[in-house]
């Protein structure tokens, strides 16, 4: 057998040199030792590294004789392999390639040595030593993340705005929907089924602020701030200008003074016709309170009607309610006379809060006065009282009372004269019991006697005289006069009627202000209302600006008080916003 070894020498760049050597034999030894058929001088190569046994026709088999095997056949580390033309073997840095044998040869190979300084590669280049060579990629990751975030959070929710199907799909699946754009929680009051999680209930059109119509769907009754057309800018304002939703913490009502001061610091220049005075803050720049009071409209001395008047608190003023009421007597620490003896009274005996806890309920005779101020007119009959009402009714009640009284008395006399008395067995001591007395009378009447009309007329006249006498007593001396202003239409005429001037007590002194009595309940009433020193009902017991400022809105104390704290912005009196 014969084989051919073609050695390729790498001369210069791109030029090669071949040298062919022919050998006889059927085995080729490869190694570093001098006795080897193919000698490789590199130190990595074993002295007797490998051997090829030739099978002829260009084929053979190779075996690595070293341990461990380091030989590569077709890039794989193997201990042995069969060879055919086209295979390549690497031992050390030399590459042996099996080629088709030329005529006359059973086997042929080329040998390319790469050991003799031919290794041009950079030392260490077989290793991955920088991050660029690894699986990390800045650029592709960057664009991937960019596309991912944009798709998930802008494109998909955005498509939902254009297409209802996409929207309902994204809202019903884990895909992100426009909820991802939510900038903060809604206030509790807006957590209602009508809104739910649907942004488009309020945000109807993209890139446009929420319009008032959306708010007015529910808030239809909300009042204007001023009369329509008083201020154009106000008429065109959006609810959203002041009421910002999605705040954190949730809040929607502006509390700051700037909201009001913006216009009210010089309201006269914004709204020329205004009667309101300028103000910027309660603590520093607020006009004196202007009180609203009911005042009688008189004709002569008589009160015909009532009207409200507003006046500065600084000007001297007296309330003319036509009621006589000395606060100091009722609040006497020693007590005040009552049917059950002396009683020490407190403010809340008469003044109680209304249902909202804001104002006091109106004072009425029935609720507040009558328990002590009874309307008894006959000390012998303390159960009977005149009605509290107009004088005609009082006189009528008295006439009826005495007519009956007199008629029954005269009947008693006649009965006693005409018949043997169906005498009562009741002792005289029981006469004081009125109900028994009446029962007795009824019993007697059943005995059946009559009076002629003359007698009856006489008795009635007597009764009327008595009634008017008693009326004069209670109107002018004992009962009515204590609290009321009483006048007589014609002093000289005996049956001239009395006139009780109507009473109206002002209950809302500061109608543009929302005072909350309930939140002030920890304080004594007299801290603000000087009732203990007030001797007449003409005294106006409203606290002034200064006494409020002792606690509110000045620098020396803690209770910052904003405009909204006392005043309402939306005032129903000016009509509804939507109209």
């Amino acid at each position: 057998m014969a084989y051919l070894v073609r050695t390729i020498e790498n001369r210069d760049e791109g030029s090669f040199e071949y040298s062919d050597n022919e050998f006889p034999g059927s085995t080729i030894t490869i190694g570093r030792a001098t006795d080897q058929d193919i000698q490789l001088t590199e130190i990595e190569v074993g002295l007797n590294h490998a051997s090829i046994s030739i099978r002829g026709n260009g084929r053979g088999a190779i075996r690595d004789l070293t341990s461990p095997a380091t030989m590569l056949v077709n890039e794989n580390v193997v201990r042995s392999a069969s060879l055919k033309p086209g295979d390549s073997i690497k031992i050390g840095n030399s590459v042996i390639a099996v080629i088709d044998p030329p005529p006359g040869f059973d086997f042929a190979l080329t040998l390319e040595r790469q050991d003799a300084g031919g290794d041009e590669s950079v030392p260490g280049s077989q290793y991955l030593t920088t991050l660029e060579q690894t699986s990390l990629h800045k650029r592709s990751w960057s664009w991937l993340l960019f596309a991912l975030v944009l798709t998930l959070f802008l494109v998909i929710p955005g498509l939902g705005l254009l297409n209802d199907q996409v929207q309902s799909m994204s809202r019903s699946t884990p895909l992100p929907d426009d909820g991802a754009w939510d900038t903060g929680p809604l206030i509790d009051a807006h957590h209602i089924p009508e809104i739910g999680d649907d942004c488009n209930v309020c945000h109807v059109k993209p890139f446009r602020m929420v319009r008032n119509q959306q708010c007015l769907v529910c808030h239809e009754d909300i009042g204007r701030h001023a009369e329509k057309d008083a201020h154009t800018e106000l008429d065109q304002a959006l609810c959203e200008n002041c009421h910002k939703e999605h705040n954190e913490p949730p809040s929607i009502v502006r509390q700051d003074d700037a909201l009001c001061a913006d216009c009210h610091m010089s309201l006269d220049s914004v709204v020329k016709a205004t009667v309101l005075r300028n103000a910027t803050s309660f603590g520093e720049d607020h006009p004196a309170f202007k009180l609203t009071m009911l005042e009688p409209v008189l004709q002569g001395d008589a009160t015909l009607d009532w009207r409200t008047v507003r006046f500065d608190q600084s000007s001297p003023i007296a309330e003319r309610s036509n009621l006589k009421f000395p606060h100091h007597k009722h609040l006497d620490p020693e007590g005040v006379k009552s049917p059950t003896g002396d009683e020490v009274m407190v403010c809340s005996d008469c003044h109680t809060l209304d249902a909202q806890g804001l104002l006091m309920k109106p004072i009425t005779m029935e609720d507040s006065c009558r328990r002590c101020h009874t309307l008894v007119f006959d000390e012998d009959d303390p159960e009977r009282e005149v009605p509290h009402g107009d004088p005609d009714t009082v006189i009528l009640a008295l006439e009826e009372y005495y007519s009956r009284e007199f008629l029954e008395n005269s009947l008693d006399e006649q009965t006693e004269q005409a018949t043997e008395s169906i005498a009562t067995t009741q002792p005289a001591a029981d006469e004081s019991d009125m109900s028994d007395k009446r029962r007795k009378r009824r019993k007697r009447r059943r005995a059946g006697t009559t009076m002629d009309s003359k007698q009856r007329y006489k008795v009635l006249l007597l009764a009327r005289d008595k009634a008017w006498e008693v009326a004069g007593q209670i109107f002018e001396k004992t009962t009515c006069l204590i609290c009321h202003e009483i006048a007589r239409e014609n002093e000289s005429e005996p049956l001239s009627k009395w006139r009780v001037e109507p009473v109206r007590i002002t209950s809302q002194w500061l109608p543009k202000h929302q005072f909350n009595h309930y939140s002030h309940r920890a304080e004594e009433c007299t801290l603000c209302h000087a009732a203990e020193q007030s001797e007449i009902s003409a005294d106006v017991l409203m606290p002034d600006l200064q006494s409020c400022r002792e606690c509110h809105g000045s620098e020396s104390n803690q209770l910052a008080t904003t405009c909204i704290g006392c005043h309402n912005f939306h005032l129903a009196a000016y009509g509804r916003i939507g109209q």
């Binding site: 130190i43 990595e44 074993g46 002295l47 070293t66 341990s67 461990p68 380091t70 950079v122 030392p123 260490g124 290793y127 991955l128 030593t129 920088t130 991050l131 690894t134 699986s135 990390l136 800045k138 990751w141 960057s142 664009w143 991937l144 993340l145 960019f146 596309a147 991912l148 975030v149 944009l150 959070f153 802008l154 929710p157 955005g158 705005l161 426009d178 909820g179 991802a180 754009w181 939510d182 900038t183 903060g184 929680p185 942004c199 945000h203 993209p206 890139f207 446009r208 929420v210 002041c242 910002k244 705040n247 954190e248 913490p249 809040s251 929607i252 502006r254 700051d256 700037a258 909201l259």
Partner: protein
């Protein structure tokens, strides 16, 4: 003279960033908006606008540093400004957000921004700390020189082993061939050594030749030392001693190379967080701006 990015232009950008930061804080404290502080007040829009423009400009550094022909400032100056103004964005954007967070795209943008900035901080830390370490480690050599020296040592140890016996040579050769340096990003960062060695049969390690762990070349060194202990006198001991010295020198050199690779990896790795996240941030920022005006 080299000047650090911190002191560029007498710390010009430090002062600009400081003034921006303090002005933002002062405005935030002075501003009494109706309702809670918010990105939707005039100050909120102002801070948000400044923050967004700064983020866009900060991202331009990636373009500027590739534009070698550009003369819009120096890359050095740009980097200095990038560091200081990038830090200022953290304050500006936090005040714009007014500490409000939620499960929404706005907080996503904020969180991405914070991650980008803090990965940047790590980068600054790495650039302050590691170049000195790297210089110490390399002791004047380049990476290439170190690798060339490894190759020389490998050849030298093979020549020495060749004089001893075939098994020792096979051991040394296998240890050289299967020495692992670097590798995937985690191996580079951790400086992990995945070297192996095929231990020939005669070293008495089991019934057949076996592939064993050769971290820090310890196994090969131990086996050579063992063979030396078993050898009595003669030139072979001297050769074994020489071999041991060579292997130990290589061991120390490999340690330095791995340290060098690790430092390079650390100097680079934060950018693999910083850059992709900043692109995520850009997308989230666009989404944030568009979405707040869609639902105005």
């Amino acid at each position: 003279m080299h000047k650090s990015i911190f002191s560029y232009g007498s710390g010009r950008y430090f002062w600009i960033a400081l003034i921006l930061t303090l002005a933002s804080i002062a405005a935030y404290m002075w501003h009494q908006p109706p309702g809670p502080p918010n990105g939707g007040t005039w100050l909120g829009y102002t801070l948000g606008g400044i923050g967004a423009l700064l983020i866009l400009w900060l991202m331009l550094l990636g373009i500027r540093k590739r534009s070698y022909a550009s003369n819009v400032g120096t890359v050095h100056g740009w980097t200095s400004a990038h560091v200081y103004l990038g830090t200022a964005v953290l304050v500006v954007a936090t005040l714009h957000a007014a500490w409000q967070v939620g499960w929404n795209v706005h907080t996503l943008a904020y969180v991405l921004m914070v991650l980008v900035i803090f990965s940047g901080f790590f980068g600054i830390y790495a650039y302050m700390r590691y170049p000195t370490l790297m210089t110490e480690l390399r002791s004047g050599m380049t990476r290439e020189q170190m690798f060339r020296q490894v190759e020389d040592l490998d050849r030298q140890s093979l020549r020495t082993a060749d004089k001893i016996d075939a098994e020792t040579k096979a051991l040394v050769q296998s240890a050289a061939e299967r020495t692992a340096v670097g590798g995937g990003w985690w191996r580079q960062l951790a400086g992990r050594d995945g070297s192996k060695v095929v231990v020939p049969l005669s070293f008495g390690e089991g019934q057949a030749e076996s592939l064993q762990d050769n971290t820090e070349q310890k196994r090969a060194i131990a086996l050579v030392a063992k063979r030396m202990a078993e050898t009595r006198g003669g030139s072979e001991v001297v050769e074994l001693q020489n071999l041991l010295n060579t292997l130990a020198t290589k061991q120390a050199l490999l340690r330095r190379i791995r340290g060098d690779i690790r430092i390079h990896a650390v100097l680079q790795i934060w950018l693999y967080v910083h850059v992709p996240l900043s692109f995520g941030l850009l997308a989230a920022l666009i989404t944030h701006v568009v979405s707040v005006f869609v639902y105005w």
